[in-house]
């Protein structure tokens, strides 16, 4: 049914991953103690100085080949680094997209030129990426993007508009999903991924879209006849859809799908102290059990997708990943609800108290996680297709 060929009872983190966890945790505790960043929940902050410190320790592009600045370590070790960053609400935005999405895409599909141009820079914390996917008319239905690339000598001329582009106002480059051939009956054909240098390409305009809290991390990006050289096409022209969807299993099942409100749970426990309140005990127990379970599922996927497992390619865990995201994003809200219900207060975004501030940030950001990266409803349609077969 699900997780065929996965042996949950043998699931354990290897020693190397545990050692790495200790190192990452010690680093983050030091950073926190030194006040080098203020934890923020809901979205990761963009902090180039912090990212450079992480890069200096070799924790960006951890699984990548050494020739591109990586460490050739396992997916489980990467999993552990991600978990620690989330548990301590570290400001990872400056390396998040490069490390998690565009880097792996370039490794898999990119030309040698693109790999050399971007990967070592990502691992050094010098190149920040953003993702140009959604458009005003294309949210869940990503294949309907209308940004167009016209073939010209030596490259492409790209015109269109991207929205919800997180941190585009600080990023150096972004992946742009666009149409390189006219729409046909096969709507997934004719899409391509291009890399555009945001800061240096004439015709790129970035404007803020304010989040409902007033914060600025989203943007809309206008592309007006932007020239993109042929060398900046990722993989094959026309294969953009396949490239995007093949990466989804790992992206949808990572700890970031169920841990973005986790620091609130820790602060809740701090508030509750050694409470003998039965409600508190029951809620904390249940939240722990649900997290423990999600983590096992997420770990199982990371382990199976690791090249060293020998299973990579042999198992398709796309649906399982969708399950983890669906349940994980709801789990994040369960933490927020429990915190609200157990501690009566009126949370404010600028509170000095960490618990109060986290709670406010989580309430305001709660709608986002079940939307980004595939809405609940899209994911459930995908899961149902697996269970019920092709539905016509």
């Amino acid at each position: 049914m699900f997780f065929e060929n996965i042996d949950f009872s043998a699931l354990e983190l290897p020693q190397a991953a545990r050692k790495l966890r200790d190192d990452v945790r010690a680093f983050l505790q030091q950073e926190l103690a030194a006040g080098s960043y203020t934890p923020h929940l809901g979205h990761a902050e963009f902090d180039s100085a912090f990212t450079k410190k992480v890069a200096a320790r070799g924790w960006i592009g951890l699984t990548w080949p050494k020739q591109y600045g990586g460490q050739e370590r396992s997916y489980l070790e990467r999993f552990v680094v991600t978990e620690e960053m989330l548990a301590f609400a570290a400001p990872c935005a400056a390396h998040w997209f490069g490390d998690r999405q565009t880097g792996p895409s370039l490794l898999r599909y990119g030309s040698e030129f693109l790999k050399q141009k971007y990967l070592p820079g990502i691992t050094r914390g010098e190149i920040a990426f953003a993702l140009g996917m959604s458009e005003p008319g294309s949210g869940s239905d990503l294949a309907s993007v209308r940004t167009r690339a016209e073939k010209v000598a030596g490259g492409w001329r790209v015109t269109g508009q991207k929205v919800w582009t997180s941190w585009a106002h600080k990023a150096d480059a972004f992946f742009v999903l666009c149409r390189t051939a006219p729409l046909t009956d096969d709507r997934h054909a004719g899409l391509s991924q291009l890399v555009i240098d945001i800061k240096t390409s004439p015709g790129v305009t970035v404007r803020p879209i304010r989040f409902m809290s007033g914060e600025h991390h989203f943007n809309e990006v206008f592309l007006d006849n932007v020239f993109v050289p042929d060398s900046h096409v990722v993989g094959e022209v026309g294969q953009g859809w396949k490239q995007i969807t093949s990466e989804l299993a790992l992206e949808r099942s990572g700890p970031e799908r169920f841990m973005t409100t986790f620091p609130l749970l820790v602060e809740l426990i701090r508030r509750l102290g050694k409470s003998d309140d039965a409600r508190a005990q029951e809620m904390v127990g249940r939240l722990t059990a649900r997290l423990w379970t999600l983590r096992r599922m997420s770990l199982a996927i990371a382990l199976a997708l690791d090249p060293s497992s020998g299973k990579q390619g042999a198992v398709d865990l796309g649906t399982e990943a969708a399950l983890v995201k669906d349940m994980g994003t709801f789990y994040e809200r369960e933490i927020v609800d429990a915190a609200r219900l157990l501690v009566a207060l009126e949370p404010t975004l600028d509170a000095d108290d960490t618990f109060e501030r986290f709670l406010a940030q989580c309430v305001v950001n709660a709608p986002v996680s079940t939307i980004r990266g595939g809405t609940t409803q899209v994911l459930r349609t995908l899961i149902a297709r697996r269970l019920l077969g092709a539905l016509k």
Binding site: F2, L11, L13, Q281, R286, M297, R385
Partner: protein, 357 residues
């Protein structure tokens, strides 16, 4: 690791064939009245399935706790009305006390304060009442755990008041009136450990039962037509089926993962291992019952009125999953135990504890 997976897959295949061949609608119907099925038990005994997980030295078939879980998962998918989990638990207790494990259906209970065990020469005489002992009427022996001792008692010497759970599985009250124990031996297994292992196995069984409930719901949705379309074509139905799928996957993942933790750490005495064991077992016995509530409801909803009849198979698995929630501690019991432990550990130890394995 590959070897153990392959062995377990083989075991699963063998068990699946056995249950598919021998669990019939008629048998389940009869078992509803009798509380279990001797006919099925005899078939399983021929294949040695009831003694998987019991050490060969004690008279068992050998194998790991994960092997036991694999068998129980398949048995629960088929709603097999036999004391497999109980026989394993009783055999585990006997083996822990270096006592022989008889090749017969067994059950077990942990003694509370109401029980008296008096040494009379070399023999122990036991008196007391044990409530809702699973499959007591089916068992040849009742294996009791009290104060560091395991007692094997001949069920024929006990009084039995029949009872049943929501799925009509035998849950009998057993009365011992100065019954002489067949065998006795000291054990390191505590009442808490027995309770925890029972909870773990019930979680595994809930997972298996829910898998079949989901299968039935999917099959029904693909066949049943209303408003001129198959149910599976309605997005409202798809969304619910998907949600049930997540719940079932979570129940199975939690139960099997916890099985691995118990297998690795059960013999460890240190504080950290105890914490990991509690986290694993409690998570399984919280998550699986939570899943039972959601997935059983959805499976029934998808079936409409067809699913609530006596003759349709769905209730054999849904009622079992729902009834098993209450046995060996329900979600609230385990949530409070786990919550209490995590709160006692404090905020700064919370993430280290969760991420230790």
């Amino acid at each position: 690791m590959t070897d153990t997976i392959d062995t377990r897959r083989m075991l699963t295949d063998v068990a699946t064939r056995l249950f598919a061949d021998h669990v019939t609608p008629k048998m389940l119907d009869v078992a509803k009245h009798e509380g279990w099925s001797l006919a099925l038990w005899d078939e399983l005994a021929k294949a040695e399935l009831p003694w998987v997980g019991v050490p060969e030295a004690a008279g068992g078939a050998g194998g790991t706790l994960s092997d036991v879980a694999a068998v129980l998962r398949v048995a629960a998918r088929h709603a097999a009305p036999v004391p497999l989990a109980e026989t394993y638990l009783a055999g585990w207790l006997l083996a822990s006390a270096n006592l022989d494990v008889p090749r017969a259906p067994l059950t077990m209970a942990a003694a509370d304060a109401e029980i008296s065990a008096v040494k009379n020469g070399a023999a122990w005489r036991i008196s007391g009442v044990f409530k809702r002992v699973p499959f007591a009427r089916a068992a040849k022996q009742l294996v009791l755990l009290a104060e560091g001792q395991v007692f094997a008692v001949d069920m024929a010497t006990c009084g039995i008041t029949p009872g049943r759970n929501l799925a009509s599985e035998a849950r009998d009250d057993v009365m011992l009136d100065g019954v002489t124990a067949l065998a006795t031996g000291p054990t390191l297994v505590t009442c808490e450990a027995l309770h925890a292992r029972g909870a773990l196995l019930r979680a595994v069984q809930i997972g298996g039962a829910l898998e079949h409930a989901l299968d039935l719901a999917c099959e029904h949705a693909k066949i049943r037509t209303q408003f001129g379309r198959r149910l599976a074509q309605f997005q409202a139905i798809q969304q619910e089926i998907a949600r049930a799928g997540g719940e079932v996957a979570a129940a199975v993942a939690a139960a099997l993962s916890a099985t691995g933790v118990v297998e690795r750490l059960a013999d460890h005495q240190d504080v950290q291992s105890a914490q990991q064991l509690l986290m694993a077992v409690a998570s399984a016995k919280i998550r699986a019952p939570d899943a039972a509530r959601e997935a059983a409801a959805i499976a029934h909803q998808v079936h409409g009125a067809i699913g609530v009849t006596d003759e349709y198979a769905l209730h054999h698995v849904t009622l079992r999953a729902l009834a098993w929630r209450e046995e060996f501690g329900n979600e609230v019991y385990w949530s409070m135990a786990l919550g209490r432990a995590m709160l006692a550990g404090g905020a700064d130890d919370y993430w280290p504890a969760l991420s230790a394995a």
